[in-house]
């Protein structure tokens, strides 16, 4: 229960930041891809920078988790073809819907009609991937 509430609150906080900074918005995404404002770039770069500093400290100081375990951080495995083709497809979807995975959920709460359409779409895409993944030679 405690874990559930912590996770929920972190999600809530993340959502509030994306809302307050308007990063969830279709318009901010278009603005970014048209290079009309530094806002989204600054947001992404400073988020990455902050995260990198903390990850460095966590690894360096061997900081333990609240549960008392050694924190392990593993980067994702390199899958060149999947990273590139999957990345291009994701990018297309990101710019068309103006939302990546987290804003999809925010929009469910903010604007339930479009939010649920987006969620249904993202789920359908995941199912299509799951079906194709099972086929030999594909993906």
């Amino acid at each position: 229960m405690f874990k559930f509430i912590i996770t929920l609150l972190l999600g809530f906080a993340f959502g509030l930041i994306l809302l307050a900074s308007q990063a969830f918005s279709w318009f901010r995404i278009q603005e970014m891809f048209h290079f009309q404002s530094f806002h989204m770039f600054g947001l992404l770069f400073s988020a990455i920078g902050t995260s990198a500093v903390f990850l460095f400290i966590i690894k360096r100081k061997k900081i333990k988790s609240a549960q008392g375990n050694q924190i392990e951080v593993k980067p994702k495995k390199l899958e060149l073809k999947a990273n590139i083709i999957g990345g291009l497809i994701f990018g297309l979807g990101w710019s068309i819907s103006g939302a990546c995975s987290a804003p999809v959920y925010i929009l469910v709460g903010l604007h339930w009609q479009i939010g649920l359409i987006l969620l249904a779409g993202a789920f359908t895409g995941t199912v299509i991937f799951g079906l194709l993944k099972g086929k030999n030679g594909l993906l």
């Binding site: 874990k3 972190l10 999600g11 891809f33 593993k74 990345g87 994701f90 709460g109 604007h111």
Partner: protein, 163 residues
């Protein structure tokens, strides 16, 4: 609400979620695996969804928090789509109506590409761009560049046709 929270506040706050998740929950920041978890729950017969889904259950709780944040914002400020953000090319007119259900098909198709692409690339903006680029992972730097190339194509060439 026309002025966004400045990036130099919002960005570091987002970055802070990463160590908080690690320290409090021993989880690496990410969100798109929640879709796979839903798949594993609803359609367990599909082989790809037959995996140790418990590792991703926390993302559903995280997603629930995201939904609640959107709902809270709606209660406080109403529909954000009425807020006209800085004009983007000739999208000023669209600003009021972009989240209208008449654009549902575009959003649905965009959503499909987001869900498919995130699984194929093994991560999205959270897991790749923020979590793993901040560990300088090659896979995530390549994925992030690909996200942007795809996004440029969509935003510059496809959106003007379909919206």
């Amino acid at each position: 609400m026309n002025t966004p929270l400045a990036w130099y506040f919002a960005g570091p706050l987002i970055g802070l979620i990463v160590p908080l998740l690690l320290i409090l929950r021993e989880k690496q920041f990410g969100i798109s695996s929640s879709y796979r978890f839903i798949g594993a729950t609803l359609l367990p017969k599909i082989k790809y969804f037959n995996y140790s889904k418990e590792q991703d259950r926390w993302q559903i709780h995280f997603a629930l928090g995201l939904i609640l944040s959107g709902f809270a914002a709606f209660q406080l400020f109403g529909a954000f789509d009425k807020v006209v953000i800085q004009p983007v090319l000739d999208y000023e007119k669209a600003a009021v109506t972009i989240y209208d259900v008449k654009n549902g098909l575009q959003f649905f198709l965009g959503g499909i590409l987001v869900g498919f692409g995130a699984r194929y690339a093994n991560g999205c903006t959270a897991g790749h761009c923020i979590m793993d680029v901040s560990q300088f992972a090659t896979s995530s730097i390549i994925a992030t560049v690909s996200f942007f190339v795809g996004g440029l194509i969509g935003s510059l060439f496809i959106n003007p046709i379909i919206f």
